[in-house]
Symmetry: C2
Subunit: 233 residues, 2 copies
């Protein structure tokens, strides 16, 4: 490392990842301490520390003070899915985006919705349904309930140019969210919207967002079953 070759934590991280992948460091095994590794790699302990911390955060290493660092026994890697705004998702795939507002009314939310949002008593909420299209073909049907107490300003939005999702993203912050994926069968409403037969499979993404102590919105985003969510790691 005389002139140029400062060891970067990237390189060190990669080398350690290799050792883990190739079983040089076996699952469950205790690996050398930071000082030792720092000497081995010819760098400062802080550099090794950063590499180790990132690997630990990725789940391939488990670290405990005094006990040392060991290779995770079950590297149950986590898959990260980005859930982009539909428009971006469609445009990224090269489709032409359009959306159609299906309905936009204030009405009593059904129990299944209020329950999910942690609201105990029946309540008027804004119910917005719309359809997102890619190249004129139905791509996603969005069925959303919005808590007017949390975002009163949305009451007067017409959603002629912005979708409710985009409106909320730019106007309403949230601090917590819950996302659920599951499979289901298209109900008549959904089938009609998505040009599917009744009882065709659908891929459902549900999202709940909250501010501390204040539910904001509950959405069901329904895709044809053939929709694929892909991630690489």
């Amino acid at each position: 490392m005389t002139a140029t070759a400062r060891k970067s934590f990237h390189a060190i991280k990669a080398e350690m990842a290799r050792r883990i992948a190739e079983r040089v460091w076996a699952p469950g095994a205790l690996i050398p301490g930071e000082e030792v590794l720092a000497v081995e790699f010819g760098c400062a302990r802080a550099t090794v520390n950063r590499a180790l911390q990132e690997l630990a955060r990725g789940g391939v290493l488990v670290r405990k003070r005094k006990a040392g660092t060991r290779v995770a026994l079950h590297p149950m890697r986590e898959a990260r899915f980005v859930i982009p705004i539909v428009r971006q998702e469609i445009e990224n795939k090269g489709g032409a985006y359009q959306f159609r507002l299906v309905s936009n009314v204030v009405e009593k939310a059904p129990a299944c919705v209020t329950k999910r949002l942690g609201i105990t008593k029946a309540k008027d909420m804004l119910h917005v349904r719309c359809l997102h299209l890619s190249d004129e073909k139905p791509y996603q049907y969005e069925d959303r309930w919005i808590n007017l107490d949390a975002v009163p300003a949305i009451r007067h939005e017409t959603f002629e140019t912005v979708s409710p999702n985009e409106w909320l993203v730019t106007h309403s912050p949230f601090s917590q969210a819950e996302i659920v994926f599951h499979a289901g069968l298209a109900d008549p409403d959904e089938a009609d919207m998505l040009d599917l037969g009744v009882n065709d499979p659908v891929f459902v993404i549900e999202r709940l967002t909250y501010l501390p102590q204040k539910p904001i919105t509950f959405v069901r985003m329904i895709h044809p079953g053939s929709h694929r969510m892909v991630t690489k790691l």
Copy 2:
């Protein structure tokens, strides 16, 4: 903070997250530089840097050299799903885990499988199918093809006590993986295994794993459609 109160990057990160959530720093806005923030928070630039980097990695900030740091315009938060080993998943939910080996043979892999694995010509592969049960009820049906060139040792494994997934996790490293989620209809085979009617919806997780230039395995993990994958953020 004279004596004890060293500002931790955690506190700083939390405060900055609050400012973003509460729109003190609006989406798209340029936030102060590291030096400025360091002065404001009364800490070293490195500490601010760490907080900023973590927020950037989480997607709420976008950083560019010289240009500065700004709040992400579309905080298209990423959802992180841990895909645990089925046994753990079931046991975590309090179920009693069992698994049944359905078949375990070496045979010609169909084109749809070899293609996904990037193998051009027809090839003998190990085809293992098994069923994972929670409290004696079918939970997941696993249909797996394994490249014997990549893991020759697996040929003689009987899978009487370990599931193929667990065997591979502990015996075969991988460096890359691809995961796909989608919804489908149960075919007769799957319906039979999972105690479903034909044409009931199923939730399918497909996973491909590789070493550089060497495909290892392709799995389809099929759940009843009611299966819910949940994540919070």
